[in-house]
Structure formats: structure tokens, C-alpha cells
């Protein structure tokens, strides 16, 4: 009797455990904005920030208030800011106290030099593409020294933002 009862129960509930159509799961990724490494820098450095940071980057010390005042005066006295920034950086580069890596650092372990330079000026490491392109550029242009690289980076757009 029990056996018949069990069979009946099994027959009644068996459709519930029969084969079902397999569910399809689709796994996706939420939309993500992809930026280049420097792309999240949206804020322009103020005049004072630009001057102070550039000074510290090249001389390894803080700018004095009198030098900052002089530079601010000159900066304000000309309308084309990029031109004045260019001259300020070029003036810094004539200073014997400016810390410029030796050529051997550029041509020796170029990648290490690039990583350090990107960290110093752009507060980030170069991506693979930047490492490859710049290493090749330096290898094929023996005249490129640290002064040229420093000047190029400090007068580039990314250096003006944080």
C-alpha cells in the first residue's frame, strides 16, 4: 500500500523535476568611460601653483616669496600666458642649480628614466605605448637630452593641469 502511495506521489510531482529548458545567462560589463592616463586631470593649475610646482620640480626646493612675487608680476604683465610660461621654464633651465639628469640616465636605462620623469612631472607612470614610443624616439635621436625632455614635458598641456 505504501509502495503504491509513493508511486502516486512520484507521478504527481514528477513533472516538477522533469527536464527544463536551459536558461541562458548573459554576463556584461557596466559602461565605463575609458580615459588615457592623464585624462582625469581637469583642473588648471593657478599661476602660483604652476610657478611653485615648476620651481620645485626643477630645483628640488621651495620657491622663495620674493622670487614668487617677481614671477607673478611678470606672468601677469603679458596676455599670452603660454609664451610667458615658456620663457619662465627656459629661464629655469639656464640656472646651474636646476637638477637635470645626466645623459647617461637618458640613454642608459631609458625606461627607468621615463618612468621617473613621468612621475615627476605628470604624477603618473607612462603607459606601455608611451614607454615604447618615447624610448624609440630617444634611441633614434641621439641629440635628445634631459633638458629637451624636461622642457617638452613642462610646456606640454598635461603639465598645466592636475
Amino acid at each position: 500500500m505504501n509502495c503504491i502511495k509513493n508511486i502516486l506521489i512520484l507521478l504527481i510531482f514528477s513533472p516538477l523535476f522533469s527536464c527544463q529548458k536551459e536558461k541562458t545567462f548573459l554576463y556584461e560589463v557596466d559602461p565605463v568611460n575609458v580615459n588615457s592616463n592623464g585624462g582625469i586631470k581637469n583642473n588648471v593649475k593657478s599661476t602660483t601653483e604652476f610657478i611653485s610646482i615648476a620651481y620645485a620640480d626643477l630645483k628640488g626646493s621651495n620657491i622663495s616669496s620674493s622670487e614668487l612675487q617677481n614671477l607673478s608680476t611678470v606672468y601677469t604683465a603679458f596676455g599670452d600666458k603660454k609664451l610667458i610660461e615658456d620663457r619662465i621654464i627656459r629661464k629655469f633651465l639656464t640656472d646651474p642649480n636646476t637638477l637635470l639628469p645626466a645623459t647617461i640616465s637618458v640613454n642608459g636605462d631609458t625606461i627607468l628614466f621615463l618612468v621617473n620623469t613621468y612621475k615627476k612631472f605628470f604624477n603618473r607612470e607612462p603607459n606601455e605605448f608611451e614607454r615604447y614610443y618615447l624610448k624609440e624616439l630617444i634611441k633614434t635621436n641621439t641629440g635628445i637630452d634631459s633638458r629637451i625632455i624636461y622642457y617638452s614635458m613642462m610646456t606640454s598641456d598635461e603639465y598645466r593641469y592636475y
Binding site: N37, G38, A77, D80, L83, L137, I148, S156, R160, Y161
Partner: protein, 444 residues
């Protein structure tokens, strides 16, 4: 179709075809004529708040012997304090080469220096604070010129040369929609730039070789491409083309190398106004701009010392004659330049409590936003327009004491008219000034 209907419709169509080209998408009614009165305009803001009594009315004698033809001797009480200046470099007074508006009005708004400059450069009265370091909210003459002149010209054709910093660097472009830094003027405060601060910070800069420069272009081009967020107009001030930047860079080098102190041989040395004018002359020689605005403000010592004010008026007078003399020596600008001379505002009739060594009371400028506040004499100024015969009426006077002709806001549309782009400016912007261009009476 009936003959009468046909003729009527044909007539309307012909009239429409005739009128239609003049109703332009910009909303202005007439196409630009492009007719210029001259190819260069120099506007000299003279010279930091000048009272008509002391300029065109000669109450203390003729303090402006290079500008005005008048033989009244300087009052004997202050005469001993006057610097002996070089003789008139022109051999004639400027009023004989132009039209003088003897009572010109700074009609509305506070008589502050920045506000006065803003009005003179925008053609619109302003009620902003007396000193506020922000770009004007309405376009400046520089932007009108660079946006509406045809063809559009580079920023090296358009200069604002200020004798000091403070808020004045903000006047080379506005924050107005559709205008702004992209159409701004090259700004320079030469006495600040070519100063000891400038010598220490931007003179004798490192010069890269051509080969270096090629490498720099590759490196910078690459990093800028990766960053893809150009640092340009506005955030970077105004922008010049790369070739113009090179010219400007060389110009700055030359100015540092060649500037000599007291090049005009002034007793006691050149004051700040004279220096500013002398640097403006170098810009004129180098770039031959179509529009240059230069100011002087040393007479503002009047707040503390009337006699020094009178002396500085004489120096400003000599400086503007020197400026005109230089313009006439520049090929391409000689006989093709209009010089406009006008103070940004006047000064009070009555002195303040500061009495100088000669017993004279100092002068403020207190006319305020409310036309009943302050001394309204500070709204009385003059305007002199100098230019080639056949273009500018020579030796003409307009207006008299109590009968003003013209006002400050007319200078901007007058410049636009001289350079032939006034009809290109959308009418609604400058309507009050354009409807009342008495200043144009100076021209044939």
C-alpha cells in the same frame, strides 16, 4: 494674368531681390561696406583722471603745450615746480591736426579708473565696482575688431598696453558669449615686464637649436596628443599663432637687450607714463598693429599732490606728442593713422584736504553710480581726434563749457567706423552709442 497684376508682382519681386541681400543671417541690416577712414587707430587714454579746468580750460595756464594751441603762462605759484621738458617734437600742436571735443562727457557710472577704462574699451557704461579684477561682461573693442573686421586678423594686430597691473590686465577681452579670449588683444604692461623682476625671471632664457626644436615638437606633439585636453584661449590667456609667438619672443629679447633708461632725455628721468608710451612706440614700430590702446595714469597723483598732477599732465602731453611723432615716422602708419586722445574720466571741482607744498588742494574723482552722488564735474572730459588732412577735420572745435558734444561710449563705435567694420557688429550690442555718434563729426 492681368497686365496690372503682373506688373505689380514683378515690381515686388524686383524690390525684394534688391533688398534681400542686405538682410543678413546675423540680423544686421546692411552688409559691411569695408570703407575705412584709416588703416590704423591708436587710442591713448590720457592720463588717469584729468579735470577740464586744468586741460582745455587753462585755469593754471596751458599745461598741454604739445596738444593745445594756447599761450597762457603756467600759474606763477606752481611754475617753479614744473620740470623743464624737451621742446615740442612736432613743431605744431596736435589740435591743429585734428578735431577737439572740448566738453566730452563720461555720462554715467562711477568715476573709477577701472570703470572708466572699461567704459572706454567696451562702449557701454558700467556700474561695476571701482576695482574688480574680472573681464568685462560685454565685448571690448579688441574683440569687435578681431571678430568682425574682414579679414579677421591675428592678435599681433591688436594691442592693449597698460602702464600698470592691478585690474587692467583683465581688459584685453571679455566674458561675453561669442567673444572672449579667442578674439582678445595682446596685453602687455611693459614697465612691469621689462623691469628688474623681468630681468631676473625671463631675460636671457635658454635658447634651443633648430634640431632641438624639432625634437621638442615631436615630444610635445606626442604628449599633447595623448593628453588630448588643449591648454588654450581663456585658461591660457590669449593665443598667438606659433609664428607670431616666435616674433613676440624675439621682440621680448630685443626689448631686454636694447632698452636704455631715459631714452627721451627727460630731466630727472622718464616717468611711468613716458616709459609706457615709449614701449608702445616700439610695438608700433615692430608690429604696425591696426589697433593699439595705450594708457597713462601718472596724473592720478592728484589725489595727494596737485602740483605734481600739473607737472605730470605736462609730461603726458609731451609723451603723446612723442607718440604721434613716432607714428609719423613708421612706414605704413604715417598718414594712415587716427590718434584718439581722451581721459577715462575727469576730476572733482573742489579739492580734498591734502594741501601740497605750493598750497594747492589735491583732487579726487567722486562722481558715483547715482548721478546725485559725488562731484559731477568729474564727468567732464575732452576728446581729441588727430589724423590725416582730408580724413579728419583739422583745427576744428566741437562743444564748449556747458554745451557738451559726444560722450565716452562713442569711442568704441568710432574706432569700428574708422576701421570699417562698424556695420558688421550686431546692432543690439552697441545700439546706444551707435545711435549717437557725435564723435564722427570729426571726420569728413
Amino acid at each position: 494674368m492681368r497686365r496690372r497684376t503682373f506688373l505689380k508682382q514683378a515690381g515686388l519681386a524686383a524690390a525684394g531681390a534688391f533688398v534681400a541681400p542686405y538682410i543678413l543671417p546675423s540680423g544686421r541690416l546692411f552688409a559691411a561696406t569695408g570703407a575705412r577712414k584709416a588703416n590704423h587707430v591708436v587710442f591713448c587714454m590720457f592720463a588717469g583722471g584729468v579735470r577740464n579746468i586744468d586741460s582745455v580750460q587753462h585755469h593754471d595756464g596751458n599745461l598741454l603745450t604739445n596738444i593745445l594751441n594756447n599761450n597762457t603762462a603756467i600759474s606763477p605759484d606752481i611754475a617753479p615746480a614744473m620740470t623743464v621738458l624737451p621742446s615740442n617734437p612736432l613743431g605744431y600742436t596736435l589740435d591743429s591736426r585734428g578735431s577737439l571735443f572740448k566738453e566730452f562727457k563720461y555720462q554715467k557710472g562711477p568715476t573709477g579708473h577701472f570703470n572708466g577704462h572699461t567704459v572706454a574699451l567696451t562702449g557701454q557704461y558700467s556700474n561695476t565696482d571701482l576695482v574688480i579684477k574680472e573681464n568685462p561682461k560685454v565685448p571690448t573693442i579688441f574683440e569687435y575688431y578681431r571678430k568682425h573686421n574682414s579679414p579677421q586678423n591675428a592678435a599681433t594686430n591688436c594691442w592693449w598696453v597698460a602702464n600698470t597691473l592691478g585690474p587692467f590686465p583683465a581688459l584685453n577681452y571679455s566674458s561675453a558669449a561669442g567673444y572672449g579670449a579667442a578674439y582678445g588683444a595682446n596685453f602687455i604692461a611693459p614697465t612691469s615686464l621689462f623691469s628688474s623682476a623681468g630681468q631676473q625671471t625671463i631675460q636671457n632664457v635658454y635658447n634651443f637649436s633648430n634640431n632641438d626644436q624639432q625634437a621638442i615638437n615631436k615630444l610635445k606633439g606626442f604628449t599633447n596628443q595623448v593628453f588630448n585636453h588643449p591648454y588654450i584661449n581663456g585658461e591660457a590667456g590669449i593665443g598667438n599663432t606659433e609664428s607670431d609667438k616666435a616674433k613676440l619672443d624675439q621682440f621680448i629679447n630685443n626689448m631686454f637687450a636694447n632698452t636704455v633708461p631715459n631714452s627721451w632725455g627727460i630731466n630727472g628721468g622718464m616717468n611711468n607714463d613716458m616709459l609706457n608710451i615709449s614701449f608702445a612706440e616700439e610695438i608700433l614700430k615692430e608690429f604696425k598693429p591696426e589697433l593699439l590702446v595705450v594708457n597713462m595714469q601718472d596724473v592720478d597723483v592728484a589725489h595727494f599732490n596737485f602740483t605734481n598732477y600739473a607737472n605730470n599732465l605736462r609730461k603726458a602731453d609731451y609723451a603723446v606728442a612723442h607718440l604721434w611723432n613716432t607714428i609719423q615716422s613708421i612706414p605704413g602708419m604715417a598718414n594712415d593713422t587716427i590718434l584718439i586722445i581722451a581721459p577715462e574720466h575727469g576730476r572733482n571741482l573742489n579739492g580734498n584736504n591734502s594741501i601740497d607744498a605750493y598750497g594747492r588742494a589735491a583732487l579726487d574723482h567722486t562722481a558715483n553710480v547715482d548721478l546725485t552722488q559725488g562731484d559731477q564735474t568729474a564727468r567732464d572730459i575732452f576728446c581729441l581726434i588727430v589724423g590725416p588732412p582730408g580724413v579728419v577735420k583739422q583745427g576744428f572745435n566741437f562743444g564748449a563749457i556747458g554745451s557738451p558734444v559726444g560722450e565716452s561710449i562713442e569711442i568704441v563705435p568710432a574706432i569700428a567706423n574708422i576701421l570699417g567694420f562698424d556695420n558688421n557688429i550686431p546692432g543690439s550690442i552697441l545700439t546706444p552709442a551707435i545711435n549717437n555718434q557725435l564723435l564722427l563729426n570729426a571726420f569728413y
